[in-house]
Amino acid sequence: MSLFTEITIFVLAVFVGFEVISKVPTTLHTPLMSQTNAIHGIVMLGGLIVVGYADDPLEYVIGTIAIAFGAINIVGGFMVTDRMLGMFSKKPKPKDGDGK
């Protein structure tokens, strides 16, 4: 992909991002942030790629940590967002455990 193709994609993504995200109401800003945390976990793809051509112990360690960090973002981010949004959608609920 040429640099300018990439820049074109980037610029268009900025506009799409602003357009879509500015419509998210304040009420949902915290779940939005944890969801974007999860989407940010896409950097794990970078970890998968670099670990593929890693060929010394340091690179093994760096790549593996990068994958783990990305996986934390993806799994933790989507799961906690799901948990939070469940609180917004459920109406009659049985008392759950962490109520103080």
């Binding site: 995200i21 989407i39 790629i49 890693a54 940590i65 917004f88």
Partner: protein, 471 residues
């Protein structure tokens, strides 16, 4: 083992990445309404699954044992953290996720540099420059977020910590980083790995130095800004790796963080630069309000408050940071339930910076089962205030201070506020008359229609609920 079936940068892989990022956008779009947001989150997660599987099928992916370890450890930590975290702790968790995201990008950048050097050829600048950018921003995000996490978790003091000449040091660090990056780019045939590591370290120090002086009240801005930074660093990694999914996903996150940063700064009537460099939030600003003459105010007990509330038609609850700290959201909901049983209309007025991160108060109240229809934004509730019988301020202070509107010389002049002083009566539940983060006295406390209930928010709300029940 799985045979590689897709060519990196090939049509099939790119097409699948396009599907993946489209699902991210659809997912976020469904996040614009509470009833569809949960589905939207699943849609985005589906996009992520496609992106990950596509990458695992690429030619050149190997070292499967390491991938399994990284995935297994990361996923386990993610699952445990997301199940255990309390809703009051969400700001810390998001700060931590920002941090690991930035850290991952910095590590990938380092690995890319090592790989480039080991190939022994000129590293093309359209790879090298994004790698440098990703390394710097990733490292700043990682360390800055860790400091933000430590502050939110009370591991280090939330008050601003500054060293003399901080601004100068920051500028020198930044210039040094830029100079080193230029040197690496100029020597792209044989860049120095030592210099790149030095850049990562300098960026790490810069991340620490920028966030340490920022006080607790400004955390919503800082978390949003670091969110934007991690997003941009991911987009940069996408440029370096020629990966369209990373570019689009990173840019979406960057846009989101940028929008939230601007909204938070607007809600505090300050510029982002002011938040970052003025170290104002949480500053004691001249000894606080403990000394000096005590101005006349009306103090009441829980029983009086209960009577005022029970015989009102409309009650608006204004929750603030103090409610989150006291974990009083469930107790407040009990008060609202008792009032609704008596036919009182109850609403909640949410200031944009209530809580410790954007939208935090809404999540806390949702956790306590407050229906989201009752959560009113500031612009929506202010015109209703004159028709409100009783406004109850719980753990909020500066965001209700009429001085922001009336006194052009006030440090918070121009800050948008919840106009509770327009309500017929005001009850403020607070431990004392002490000033809030802005360090200034709140004129609201001394107005004739304001009653002060000096107590812990949770205890007071519990008592009021019990009193109303007995009326």
């Amino acid at each position: 083992m799985i045979e590689a079936v897709l060519k990196p940068g090939g049509d099939a892989a790119t097409a699948l990445y396009i599907v993946a990022f489209s699902l991210f956008i659809i997912g976020i779009k469904q996040g614009t309404h509470p009833t569809t947001a949960k589905r939207g989150n699943l849609v985005a997660a589906g996009g992520m699954a496609i992106a990950v599987v596509t990458t695992l099928l690429l030619d050149g992916i190997g070292n499967w044992g390491l991938i399994a370890i990284g995935l297994g450890v990361g996923a386990a930590i993610g699952v445990i953290a997301s199940v255990r975290v309390q809703m009051t702790e969400m700001p810390q968790m998001v700060a931590l996720y920002n941090g690991v995201g930035g850290g991952a990008v910095a590590l990938i950048a380092w690995s890319e540099i090592r790989h480039g050097i080991s190939l022994g050829e000129d590293i093309p600048l359209d790879t090298l420059i994004p790698v440098l950018f990703a390394g710097v921003v990733g490292s700043i995000s990682f360390w800055g977020s860790n400091i933000a996490f430590a502050k939110l978790q009370d591991l280090i003091p939330t008050r601003p910590l500054a060293v003399p000449g901080q601004q100068v040091i920051n500028v020198v660090l930044l210039l040094g980083i830029v100079a080193a990056c230029v040197d690496i780019a100029a020597n792209n045939g044989d860049p120095s790995q030592g210099l790149f590591i030095a850049i990562l370290i300098a960026a790490a120090i810069l991340g620490n130095m920028v966030v340490l002086p920022i006080g607790g009240a400004d955390m919503p801005v800082v978390i949003s800004l670091l969110n934007a930074f991690t997003g941009l660093s991911a987009a940069a990694a996408g440029f370096a790796l020629d990966n369209v999914a990373l570019i689009v996903a990173g840019t979406l996150v960057g846009s989101s963080g940028t929008i939230l940063t601007m909204e938070m700064a607007t809600a505090m009537n300050r510029s982002v630069a002011n938040v970052l460099f003025a170290g104002f939030g949480g500053a004691p600003a001249g000894g606080g309000g403990g000394d000096g003459e005590e101005r006349p105010h009306t103090a009441i007990g829980a029983q009086d408050a209960a009577i005022k509330l029970a015989y009102a038609d409309t009650v608006t609850i204004v929750p603030g940071y103090g409610l989150a700290v006291a974990q009083a959201q469930h107790a407040i909901k009990e008060v609202a339930d008792e009032l609704e049983k008596r036919g009182v209309t109850v609403n909640y007025a949410i200031h944009p910076v209530a809580g410790r991160m954007p939208g935090h108060m809404n999540v806390l109240l949702a956790e306590a089962d407050v229906p989201y229809e009752q959560l009113k934004e500031m612009e929506e509730i202010n015109p209703e205030m004159p028709r409100t019988d009783v406004a109850v301020v719980v753990g909020a202070n500066d965001v209700t201070n009429p001085a922001a509107k009336n006194d052009p010389d006030s440090p918070i002049a121009g800050m948008p506020i919840i106009e509770v002083s327009e309500a017929q009566q005001v009850i403020v539940i607070k431990r004392s008359l002490s000033p809030g983060f802005a360090g200034i006295d709140n004129d609201l406390f001394y107005e004739p229609n304001t009653s002060m209930l000096f107590a812990d928010a949770k205890a007071a709300a519990g008592e009021i609920a019990a009193e109303i029940g007995e009326l």
